[in-house]
């Protein structure tokens, strides 16, 4: 593989021993794929916890060479008591997290602990090279922003942050970015009217069928906004490992169907209809109990338009005693919400705004003071991981934002959706 002078100097230790170690791993990673060269990465997003010895080694004399942000923790490190996490577990984990944070600050990374860093400054440019951590962030950067982002495990993102490099392979290469499989919504679904829950169920099906393939969706009769895009795509990297999803009429590499496929032909064309939607709805609802203990919203982290929606739904309402509503946002997003008084309206209802945490998928259910039996969510990704991550000990009700919120106001989950037979 060809290395530039700068890359060779990094490897030889001219930029410190940590950078040299990171570069050595980048080269190994490149060799696995027979990459011909490395490319310059401008933006990265990394995991909030690395194996500490490894982090110590590669931080030695190193610094972030990209615009770099950090993913959320399993819990809200400020409000964990309110969140109901057992003190012993927090006290056991905290020293490790604190130690990691010291390194991130030293390296010049922004420790903002959100899974949606592009909402608060870490914005990938079209056709730039990025390396974002988190299966959904990979999909979003690649698809919605059109930056070139590899789907690679967490540590690789830190390697790119410290070296500013990544191998030129996979989705970094233009010709690998054309569509491989085509999905078309049955027009009878009226996909343009879908709420977040509906979009998630659709995406969950797409991921299951597409697995790792570059996915194209054609036939949605409106341009999807950022929020809709989040709920639709996140589950594609849950039931599958989709890293790039072109949506004709929405994403920048799919202004037309022809552009999305380029020289490739679809290997398969899949029509998604009512039958598939009902099947996914059944999978994501692991119970038919209407007695929901806790509602988890904010997977992925909420935006201002979503917080405005929640404020409108919660204004003047009260969460029933014994019920909980947890809303996951980034710290910076909460700061903006505060400027708009949205926090006051939302929290007056008894709902809790939690920051810096992965709300649902990473929640340490077995370390909660009052572990819920049934959790409701509007996120298909969260629904999947709450059930799997709890070792199938926490059941899930899946539905629209409104149905979730109403379940803790009225005390009864009523599915007003179209997919229960």
């Amino acid at each position: 593989m060809k290395l530039t002078d700068e890359e060779r100097m990094m490897l030889e230790g001219k930029y410190g021993t940590g950078t040299a170690k990171a570069m050595d791993m980048v080269v190994k990673w490149a060799e696995v794929y027979g990459a011909e060269k490395l490319v310059n990465v401008t933006n990265t997003h990394t995991s909030p916890g690395e194996p500490i010895e490894w982090l110590k080694e590669i931080s030695e004399g190193a610094k972030a060479r990209t615009y770099s942000t950090v993913h959320p923790f399993p819990i809200d490190r400020i409000r964990w008591e309110k969140q109901g996490i057992k003190r012993a577990w927090v006290e056991n984990m905290n020293p490790y997290w604190e130690e990691c944070i010291v390194y991130y600050k030293k390296l010049g990374m922004i420790p903002n602990f959100t899974c949606c860093p592009y909402m608060v400054g870490n914005v990938p440019l079209f056709r730039s090279y990025t390396n974002f951590f988190g299966s959904e962030a990979v999909l979003l950067t690649n698809s919605y922003f059109g930056s070139r982002n590899p789907r690679v495990g967490g540590p690789a993102c830190l390697l790119s942050a410290l070296t500013g490099k990544a191998p030129y392979e996979g989705l970094m290469v233009e010709e690998n970015r054309f569509g491989e499989i085509l999905f078309e919504p049955d027009p009878a679904l009226k996909m343009e009217t879908f709420n977040y829950g509906d979009l998630g169920a659709f995406g969950y099906y797409v991921g299951m069928v597409a697995q790792e393939r570059v996915t194209v969706i054609h036939g949605i009769k409106k341009r999807l906004d950022f929020e809709a895009f989040k709920y639709l795509t996140a589950p594609m990297a849950t039931s599958g490992s989709v890293a790039l999803c072109h949506i004709v009429g929405t994403t920048p590499e799919a202004l037309t169907l022809e552009q999305a496929f380029g020289p490739r032909k679809p290997q398969e064309t899949v029509v998604v209809g009512e039958k598939e939607m009902k099947e996914m709805w059944g999978k994501l609802n692991t119970t038919d109990s209407d007695d929901v203990d806790l509602v988890c919203l904010g997977c992925p982290h909420l935006s201002i338009p979503e917080l405005k929606e929640l404020a409108a739904l919660l204004e003047g309402k009260k969460i029933k005693d014994g019920k909980r509503l947890f809303i996951g946002v980034g710290d910076d997003m909460l700061a903006i919400a505060k400027k708009m008084d949205l926090d006051r309206i939302i929290e007056k209802s008894g709902a809790m705004l939690l920051t810096g945490l992965c709300n649902g998928p990473l929640t340490p259910w077995d370390h909660m003071v009052d572990k819920p039996k049934v959790v409701a969510t509007n996120s298909a990704k969260a629904a999947h991981y709450i059930y799997a991550g709890s070792g199938m000990t926490v059941d899930v009700r899946f539905g629209s934002t409104e149905d979730c919120i109403n379940s803790v106001i009225t005390g009864k989950f009523v599915d007003t959706g179209r997919w229960t037979s």
Partner: protein
Amino acid sequence: MVVEGEAMVQKENFSFFGDVNRDNGVINVGTNAGKSFKDKIFVFPQSKGSTLAPYVVADCRRNRVAPKAILCRKADGVVAMVAILSHIPTMDEFEKDIMEVVETGDHIRVDPDSGFIEIIGK
């Protein structure tokens, strides 16, 4: 690094986050639900799901419940980083379909440097 061990074949695409318990290596879905991949030659078609996988496997390794080697049809970047971070011998893209050739319980020798695996005993 050459390793030998007993194969455990997971027929479904696999997510190291969610599909396995990092304390004991016990898989909770599909073919091997309820069994641990500790010290096995772990075989699956391809990875899916969370990019947390390398950390989960690093935890498994620290808890001494990681697989000895990984074999799959095609290792994506997530599996590659599992291998690089935890030093787990990993091979993919075999001439024959690995999912057809290897069965659970086979005794296997994995030699990544030579590019071959050998089924020593069925």
